[in-house]
Symmetry: C2
Subunit: 305 residues, 2 copies
C-alpha cells in the first residue's frame, strides 16, 4: 500500500513498469512531512501527510508495518503518538543491524530516538535489543553489552552504572558488561545498548571515518608507483570497502517499543537498500516482534519479583 | 627527566645506547600506578609513584610539562589534584588533533576527562579548543562546532542547546553551530566540542571502524582474481589506510584547563608516536598554552560583561 501523492506515485510505478501489479493500492495524501519540518510541528499540523496516513493504517490494523524514508524525527514523534508505547516500555528506540568483523550482524540501539535515557530505559532497550537479535537473526541468548567509555565497573555516567546493575540482576538476559567504542564491530557482543545521543553520534562517526579512510586510500593509491595499474586493480576493493560500512543489506532501522512495526530507511537508499528495509519489516511482522518484546518484558518483571 | 624505577630506566637507556646523554636525569620511584588502578585510589595511595612524581615536578616548576603513557583516569585525577584548574575553568578536558579529509588536523575535546558536562563546561571547552588550534597549529579564528545528533537548532540535549546559545553570544569565538558525527573528519570545523563520554565513544568507534574496514578490504582483496598480485600491491595502501586513523603523528592527547602541561600518550605507542607526544608537550610549553587559555577566558568574560 502506497501512501502519498497518488498521481505522482502512479507515474513512478508506470515508469518502473509495475503499475499493473494487482496488490498495489494507494492512500492519497495532499500533504507531506518535509525533511526540514520540526517533529513537534509535523505531529500537530501534518495530519493529512503520507507519513501520518501510513502510521494510521498500522494503528487501524489495515497494514502490518510502515516503512518510511522520510524525516526521522517526525516519524519517531508521530509513531510514538499514533501507535503508543508497549506496556513496560517508556521510550522508543531506533535499532539497526551493523556489520561486524566476524561476519555476524550486531544490533545497536538507541540510534537517536531517545536523547536522554535513564537506567530503566537503557534496561528496557537491552531487553528489546535481545528480542530483535533472537527473533530477526535467530541468535540464541544474544550477548548484550552496554556501550561505555571503559570496561571497568567504575567508568561511565550514573545512569549507565545503574543500568549495568539492573542488567546484572536480570537472569533472562545474557549480559556481558561494558563494551567500548572500538569493540562495536569486533563481534564481542550481539546487542549493544546506549542512549540515543551517543548511538547517533557513534553511527554517524562511522560514516565519517569510512569516508576519510576511503579518501586516504585513494590518495595513497595515487601516490604510489604503478599508480594507474594499482588504482584500477584496487577500485573494486576500495568500493567494497566503503560499501562495507554502508551496505544495502544493513539499511533499515527499526523503531521499536511501539505497538506496531515501523522501519526507517535511509533517505538516499538505493532500490536494493529500500527492499532490504521492507524485508526487515516483513521479518518483524512474521516474527511478531512487538508481541515478543511485550512478552519478554513481562517475563523479566515476573522473574524479578 | 625520567620518573620511575631508576635501575630499570638506566638499563633501558643503555640498551637504547643513550644512557650517557648529558641532559638525562632521574627521579626514582619505588611505586607505580598500574593500568588497573582506580583513579580515586591511585590518587590517595600512590604518592610515591612515577606518575605522581612527574606531576609534582610540573607543579614545582622543575619541569615544564609531563608526558605519560600510563593509566588515563589516574593521570586525569592526579593532574587535577596536583596542578589545579585554571581560573575560569571548571573541569579538565582531553583534546587531541585528529586527521581530516582536507589534510588539516581538527581538534576534538573532550575525549574522556569529564563525563557529564553542563553548558558552561562545554563553553569553556570551546574556548580552550580554539586556543589550542590557534596556538599549536596556527589556525586564525578557528571554526568551532558543537557535536550534536543533528544540525538543526532543535536537536540535542538541553546542555548542548544552552551551550550553543552561550557560544552564539560570544564575539571572541568563530562558532559555526552544530556538527554531526559524519562531519568530524570532513574538515568543516577546526574545533569540535562534546562531553567526555560522547568524545571517548566517538574516538574509540573510529578505531573499531578502521579495523573493520581493514579486515573487509583484506577479505575483498583475497576474494578477487589475481589475488596474490593484488594483495601484494595493495599491502602498502591498506597499511597506510589503517595508520591513517591511528598515525604516529596524531599520538598525544593534551589534558587542558590545568595550571600546567600534561600530555597523554597511547599506552602502546611506538617510539615515533611517543616522540610526537613529547613534541606536542614542547609546543605547548613554547606557546604557553595554559596562560593563553587563561587570558582568553578572561577576555571572553570581559567582553561578555
Amino acid at each position: 500500500m502506497f501512501c502519498g501523492d497518488q498521481p505522482l506515485l502512479s507515474r513512478m510505478l508506470t515508469e518502473a513498469g509495475v503499475a499493473a501489479h494487482p496488490r498495489i493500492r494507494f492512500v492519497h495524501s495532499d500533504d507531506q512531512v518535509s525533511m526540514a519540518d520540526k517533529p513537534s510541528l509535523a505531529l500537530r499540523t501534518k495530519r493529512d501527510s503520507s507519513m501520518r496516513h501510513a502510521l494510521d493504517l498500522v494503528e487501524q490494523g489495515t497494514v502490518q508495518a510502515c516503512v518510511s524514508a522520510g524525516n526521522t524525527g517526525a516519524l519517531i514523534a508521530m509513531a510514538h503518538y499514533v501507535l503508543k508505547m508497549l506496556n513496560g516500555v517508556e521510550r522508543p528506540a531506533l535499532v539497526s543491524a551493523l556489520p561486524s568483523c566476524n561476519g555476524k550482524p550486531v544490533y545497536m540501539l538507541d540510534l537517536g530516538a531517545t536523547v536522554n535515557c535513564d537506567a530503566d530505559t537503557l534496561f528496557q532497550f537491552a531487553v528489546m535489543g535481545a528480542v530483535m537479535a533472537e527473533e530477526v537473526i535467530g541468535i540464541r541468548a544474544p550477548r548484550v553489552a552496554l556501550l561505555n567509555m571503559g570496561e571497568e565497573e567504575i567508568k561511565g555516567s550514573d545512569q549507565i552504572k545503574r543500568a549495568s546493575q539492573l542488567l546484572q540482576e536480570c537472569r533472562d538476559l545474557n549480559y556481558i558488561g561494558y563494551i567500548e567504542g572500538n569493540d562495536i564491530f569486533s563481534g564481542k557482543a550481539d546487542v549493544i545498548v546506549c542512549d540515543g545521543f551517543v548511538g547517533n553520534v557513534a553511527l554517524k562517526t562511522c560514516e565519517g571515518v569510512a569516508k576519510l579512510i576511503l579518501k586516504r586510500a585513494q590518495q595513497g593509491v595515487k601516490q604510489r608507483p604503478f599508480a594507474a595499474l594499482l588504482s584500477w586493480l584496487c577500485k573494486p576493493a576500495l568500493k567494497s570497502l566503503y560499501q562495507g560500512m554502508n551496505p544495502d543489506q544493513y539499511n533499515g532501522a527499526s523503531l521499536i517499543g511501539l505497538r506496531g512495526i515501523v522501519v526507517k530507511s535511509h533517505g538516499n537508499a538505493t532500490k536494493d537498500a529500500f527492499l532490504s528495509a521492507i524485508r526487515q519489516a516483513v521479518c518483524e511482522v512474521q516474527r511478531q516482534v512487538p508481541a515478543k518484546i511485550k512478552d519478554r518484558l513481562e517475563q523479566v518483571l515476573i522473574d524479578k519479583a
